[in-house]
Amino acid sequence: MIKFEKFSLPNGLRVLVHEDTSTPMAVVNVLYDVGARDEDPHKTGFAHFFEHLMFGGSKNIPVYDEPLQVAGGENNAYTTNDLTNYYCQLPAENIETAFWLESDRMLSLAFSKKSLEVQRKVVSEEFKEHYINKPYGDVWHKLRELTYTTHPYKWMTIGASLQHIQDAKLDDVKNFFFKHYTPANAILVVAGNVKKDEVKQMAEKWFGPIPAGIKYDRNLPVEPAQTGPRKLEVKANVPLDALYKTWHIYARTDPRYYVADLITDILGGGGSSRLYQSLVKEKQLFSSIDCYHLGSTDTGIITIDGKLVKGVDMKVADAAVTEELKKFMEDGITQAELEKVKNKTESAMAFEDMSVMNRAASIAMYELLGDANLINTELLRYQSVTAAQILEESRIIFNENNCNTMYYYAVQKES
């Protein structure tokens, strides 16, 4: 049981406090309800690019990192398609430093021209390092475009094109900030060796005076139900052929999300999972294969991705995957398999909750979904999933009309 208390400031900032006196540290986690899905289709990559700019100095503080490091702290941030999360950990006595820094950059950035120019280059190098200069680096770019026709999940957080970042203007930065980086769109979680009353006092002192801003009203285009299979063939400079298949699933808050999550574990989680045992070990068609989903807030996708053993025909490999799914949809799963994936979920949650930093981020993430207490009740939802539900949902999800397939062919001289 993870305990926390919650209150809101008059400007709309939600604050959650999780006390844990076993650590000398404190964690301050600020989550902003904005991700790549909220971007203009012509200005993609902006949420992530903006995350970089959040370290380029704020209204009253020229640099973010140094004062935090002086206080013995460290920090980082990440942007997903759904949200942007900033977190820092420092000795609990120095927690006010984090309040000071985080509140000032929520109040207003410095909007430095220099920071914009430098971070534009840094993000371009990040783009190159992870998505261009790496074999299979463009897979998700293509796969998202194939799978989503309408919803902004069709682009990656890094952006659809390097050009969008090259074109970003200081005005874009300002508009983005004032639209999304307001108390009403943020969740503050303070965890570790802290007292609720002190946190409340400091939150009121530092975050209280920030103008509320306008609550961002998210109104995203909905991805229509897919009505027929979609296929894409790609040739790329990689050593091995690879197969990617995706199917649309449910939103994070849908009860069927838990069923879909367990399905991915049965198919692809570990050395005793179905796909690995059948296709890597027994039939030896793939050198690796996995099945997973991304935990997206809006309707997400299940993905199967595998690298083919050299010489295996793509269509044969694809048919073998389909065959496994067919078995799954016809025969369902055994009670032991169900028990196994539930045990795995229980275990994974216990390990995840070990660090106070993870607990803080989870509380913020669940609060964003509508109820921070999900951190304590999620396991029950998994445990209530039945084999019959898994069978039923697998038949809906793996329907061929809901399927996207990408054949990613290697064109390379044998070296």
Binding site: E66, A71, G73, E125, P135
Partner: protein
């Protein structure tokens, strides 16, 4: 009115007294030492069995890694599938990792399942059979994985810089080629298993919320193995650094970045300079607020990230600078790295910057000691490097007190460009 331009007062992290929670220690019937840390709120457990079975001990490339990997691929009682199933049914993770000196089998599980899982590990450690068919799959899949990695400049650069620093014949400088994997045989693997697992040197580290009766349980499953306690000493193997110092290598003609590695040999943790150089390294390139990062990323935007570090080897180490930079700015990046070395040689680090680094490092250690696994990781590092807790406390003391003069002396001793190998892989 709140004045936001004034920082709140802080307690300097260097004023914290850091303590490393002591371990408990006992021997199994066969003399194998067990180190334990009982802590944490979650009912979880980490059990690590460390064998002296890293590539330091292999006669032929790839044997140590293959043997370690294949411990989960079949015993006379269990197939590979059954072994995986036995762990995964309980939501547990059994991983194996092969390092240069040691090879590890680790178990992560909810404490309540431990009794069900130890027999499986015992089986792996006494009765692995290394089936031919499993080896063939391993060969095929690891060759494929290697082919993908060989297309990554950073992977190739990492291998090459090690080979320049230590020589390709040294365990720290050697690297596995496709043909080495092809040449693996079950005969050699079984021999390696015999010598370094069945009759090897073993030490155990257990951390988390320890269940009652754990010592008896460990003794039941591992107390009768024919292994012995480690000497914690490695045979001396001479390194043969390359003669040539500078390399530019084209790996992929369509590359848009270069993987830069600049490295020089450095002694191991027993050397009196080591603990102080850890501090100097932090100033230089050890964290996000370092000089390399400040100059080359935050000022110039040449890279997404640049770091320097001391390699985590037991016998000897190296000081490495590592980054991926835009293809057109690789040479400029290298120039800046040398410029930052020169600054550290020529000018004393000012006290404000040094205090920042001290505080950051102490704060980092405080944060690192959060949880039983992290505490055990510190101990494991100390024990496997044949050190004692003094090493931890002296390291902390150096962070708090080492002078700017001493750091400048160390920069003059070690941060000399002609000591460094320099490599760009495009």
């Amino acid at each position: 009115m709140l004045n936001r331009s004034i920082a709140p007062p802080i307690k300097d992290a260097i004023d914290y007294a850091l303590t490393l929670k002591p371990y408990d220690h006992y021997l199994l019937d066969n003399g194998v030492p067990v180190y334990t840390i009982d802590a944490g709120a979650q009912d979880v457990l980490q059990v690590e069995l460390v064998f002296y079975a890293g590539n330091y001990f292999e006669q032929r490339k790839g044997i140590a890694a293959a043997t370690n990997y294949m411990l989960k691929n079949g015993t006379s009682k269990r197939t590979a599938f059954q072994i995986n199933e036995d762990f995964e049914y309980y939501g547990a993770y059994c991983n194996r990792s092969c390092y240069n000196e040691t090879a590890v089998i680790s178990l992560h599980t909810l404490s309540k399942h431990i009794e069900k899982l130890l027999p499986v590990i015992q089986d792996m450690l006494t009765d692995s059979i290394f089936p031919e068919e499993e080896l063939n799959i391993y060969k095929q899949n690891s060759q494929q994985r290697l082919k993908v990695n060989l297309q990554k400049a950073e992977f190739v650069a990492g291998r090459l810089i090690d080979s320049y620093l230590y020589g390709e014949k040294h365990p720290y400088g050697t690297y596995t080629k496709l043909e080495d994997i092809e040449g693996l045989s079950t005969g050699e693997i079984k021999k390696f298993y015999q010598d370094y697992y069945l009759k090897g040197q073993c030490v155990m580290f257990v951390s988390g919320k320890l269940p009652v009766g754990l010592a008896q349980l460990l003794n039941k499953h591992f107390g009768q193995l024919n292994v012995v306690k480690p000497t914690y000493k490695l045979p001396v193997i001479e390194s043969h650094p390359a003669g040539q110092k500078k390399y530019r290598i084209q790996n992929d003609e369509s590359a848009v970045q270069g993987a830069i590695r600049i490295g020089a040999p450095f002694p191991n943790r027993h050397h009196p300079d080591f603990k102080r150089v850890v501090v100097l390294n932090n100033v230089f390139g050890g964290f996000f607020g370092s000089r390399l990062m400040g100059n080359i990323r935050e000022e110039k935007g040449y890279t997404y990230g640049i770091y320097s570090y001391l390699q985590n080897h037991i016998a000897q180490s190296a000081w490495i600078i590592s980054t991926e930079a835009g293809k057109d700015v690789c040479e400029k990046t290298i120039d800046e790295v040398y410029l930052e070395m020169k600054k550290l040689r020529d000018e004393k680090i000012d006290e404000e910057e040094l205090l920042l680094v001290r505080n950051y490092m102490i704060g980092g250690i405080l944060g690192d000691l959060d949880g039983p696994f992290q505490i055990m990781a510190k101990w494991k590092n100390i024990i496997l490097n044949n050190l004692d807790e003094q090493y931890f406390y002296e390291s902390v003391q150096e962070i708090k007190t080492v002078s700017a003069e001493a750091l400048q002396d160390l920069a003059n001793k070690y941060l000399q460009p002609d000591l460094f190998y320099e490599l760009v892989v495009y």
